[in-house]
Symmetry: C2
Subunit: 276 residues, 2 copies
């Protein structure tokens, strides 16, 4: 899979150099076939995560308007047992949220052991949209990269597996999708004049995302730049990355579950012996 | 006031060298006189904090069993308008809390703008009691000092004024208080055999507190070591430190309130002119 995965800070990224199209060596049919096979695997891995209760998972989705965050979430969340999945959308902060620091509202929704939290937008908005629209002074948002890294490190030390996706679309694809939304009464509600205004700031958003990718890519919270012009390819990349993040723990979780099972059996045997 | 205030990291402290008794140059009567005068000042400062809505305050109280955390809180909270005061006691983590990182339960109770949060025990327990009783591996709690400093920095950048108190009592005074509690039916519920067991680990707790004071004393979150063998002196030190932390903002808050007042008047005048 030729997706760009960034797992250490300090690497400069020029998003205009990164493909938004799927690579040539895969067809839509092949991708869909692989996705179907993946669904069972994801379901099983989540079941182990849930049962073992030693880890949690945080999936972060970021991207420009119409990049496909909702679609990707629908797809990946759909593979899991809804018990243990918590999808959280972070919009414009409420008055209460604004009266706290920028991580306050995010920390509350950090996944507990066994759980998978999927963030539709996240704490990264506080160094992206906030920066582009000049909502807080530069001196303040500049400090936030370190706070984000510290925060994600804290979660990692508490056994949270973090995977972050930047859904990367081209300017042309975005235009196409915004126009489609306008025409379709079922999706027109998603659109407002603001989306077109945001589009004018394409370059500013690129700058903001590039700094995020440079400063907040870490071993414990890697960023995946997902070519997102094709939905079928985007879904496959996201699902495979989530699977790859969970899979290394499979054996440990299985062993934990077996140990727990044996302990319960022993307890039961003891209980019966006492009654007899 | 000869209280030890630590406002930078790296300074080694030997608690056995620090007085637990009041200094000689103040009598109980003088202290109580000053406390009475302070009450009005604290009330007024809180009113400005509340009205201006630009800052919040976090007061952290730590100390050994029977050091007087409840008493100090009762006293300082009593000076304020209860509206805008939030006293939070952090006990043994609940099962839900244990399923999250150690800052999760604390962050939820961070004060919002205008508010004063008073923590009876705090995130510091996760490097104190947790360390003394070996509840998590050393490799894990060692990381927490930095997380605590990062967290407090985050709050500070969001205009939270932080003051931390270590209520410092002597071993003899603790024994006296524990015995008194046992005899008094009104306070006996506070006591259990565990308090006496904890007492055996006096030196381990000293080590833990000393490392906290060394590593987590910062300009933005200073630790005050309060001589706490006398309640009247302890209350005075705490109240004065809280006053001193609020006072530098008095003018800014007053000006903000005056500006807000003028803006409201202008709005009202405009509204009336339109109606006329």
């Amino acid at each position: 899979m030729p997706t760009l995965v960034l797992d250490e800070p300090g690497k400069k990224i020029d998003l205009s150099d990164v493909d938004t199209d799927p690579p040539n060596n895969i067809t839509k049919e092949e991708a869909q076939e692989r996705l179907r096979a993946l669904s069972d695997e994801l379901f099983e891995l989540q079941d182990l995560l849930w049962g073992a209760r030693t880890h949690s998972m945080l999936i972060v989705l970021q991207g420009r308007d119409a990049a496909g965050k909702d679609g990707a979430i629908k797809h990946v969340a759909g593979a899991f047992n809804p018990r243990g999945i918590n999808v959280v959308s972070f919009g414009v902060p409420t008055p209460e949220e604004r009266e706290h620091d920028f991580l306050w509202r995010v920390h509350r929704h950090a996944p507990r052991k066994g759980e998978i939290a999927i963030f539709n937008r996240s704490h990264y908005e506080d160094v992206i949209v906030v920066r582009v629209h000049d909502l807080v002074p530069k001196s303040l948002w500049k400090e936030r990269f370190d706070h984000i890294n510290d925060f994600e490190e804290l979660l990692t030390e508490h056994n949270t597996i973090i995977v972050k996706f930047f859904l990367h679309i081209s300017k042309a694809e975005q235009e196409k999708r915004l126009l489609e939304r306008e025409k379709d009464p079922k999706t027109a509600w998603k659109l407002n004049a603001n989306d077109w205004k945001e589009r004018e700031k394409w370059g500013d958003f690129s700058d903001a995302y590039e700094e995020v990718l440079e400063r907040c890519s870490t071993k414990n919270g890697p960023w995946h730049i997902v070519p997102a012009d094709s939905k079928w390819y985007r879904n496959l990349v996201v699902a495979e990355a989530v699977r790859d993040a969970l899979k290394p723990h499979r054996k440990t979780w299985q062993e934990k579950l077996e140990r727990d099972g044996r302990a319960r059996e022993a307890e039961l045997a003891q209980f019966r012996a006492q009654k007899a």
